[in-house]
């Protein structure tokens, strides 16, 4: 069966979608990604859709699902490289991809994920500091 490869890079998982997704392939990707987040303890998922020419409501829902599921598993999702025509179409369709972070390209997406990790770490440290003080 066809599968979309998922690469692990540091704390993040990278996915590049190079083909037009049919439904089963998209659902397999959703499953694979969530399992990988669980196995690797990844803190971020970056999905590159620069080669995807059509995002319909089904595909949009899959992206939203991946983001929500990852968030529950303590990982943030960034979708990068959306083609302008796809963005125009998505908004007219009524799909605003709420809850999904987006960035213009892979580089900016990585920066976004890194900054999310940094703020999360700072928050954790703050909490620890407070705990210390409470002790």
């Amino acid at each position: 069966m066809d599968r979309i490869p998922i690469l692990k890079m540091g704390h993040f998982l990278l996915v590049t979608i190079q083909v037009d997704l049919y439904d089963r392939l998209a659902l397999t990707l959703e499953n694979d990604l969530i399992s990988m987040v669980s196995q690797t303890g990844a803190r971020g998922v970056l999905i590159d859709i620069s080669a995807v020419s059509i995002v319909d409501s089904f595909m949009g829902r899959i992206l939203g699902n991946i983001a929500s599921m990852s968030r529950i598993m303590d990982a943030e999702t960034v979708v990068v490289g959306m083609q302008p025509a796809v963005a125009i179409t998505l908004v007219e369709l009524g799909l605003t991809l709420q809850g999904v972070y987006t960035a213009l390209n892979v580089e900016k997406g990585m920066e976004l994920l890194n900054s999310k990790m940094d703020t999360n770490l700072e928050q954790e440290e703050d909490e620890e500091d407070q705990d210390d003080r409470n002790d």
């Binding site: 037009d20 049919y22 439904d23 089963r24 020419s53 059509i54 995002v55 319909d56 409501s57 089904f58 949009g60 829902r61 083609q83 302008p84 025509a85 796809v86 125009i88 179409t89 007219e92 369709l93 009524g94 799909l95």
Partner: protein
Amino acid sequence: MIVMTKDTMEIVREQDVVPFRNRVREFSTKIGMSVVNQTKLITAASELVRNMLKYANGGKVILEIISNNAKTGVRLTFADQGPGIPDLSLAMKDGYSTGRSLGLGLPGAKRLVNEFDLKSQPGQGTTVTVIHWKHGR
């Protein structure tokens, strides 16, 4: 209205969706439609063909290049013999779905194309016809 090119595709499985979308792309490229308009039409077509598979176990699509008063466009006719839609105005409402989806398919598809016509007879099937003109208007 003159029909310049015509083709029919049977849609019975999920795997038929991608080849169908490619065929719509071929038709819209042939008349020189811009990428944005192509993307709108193909996305609308994708929503409609998905509905057909989900609610009626498939059906057939007629693809045509049409011309009318110096305007050229692509017309797609989605015909199925499924259960039909009992309440058309409800089905055209954003966020309404009987199938646990986002409920964007029909109203979203309508927003994406220039002309949209929905006919349904409960128990006999549904026919959706959309037209998208070369210049998107």
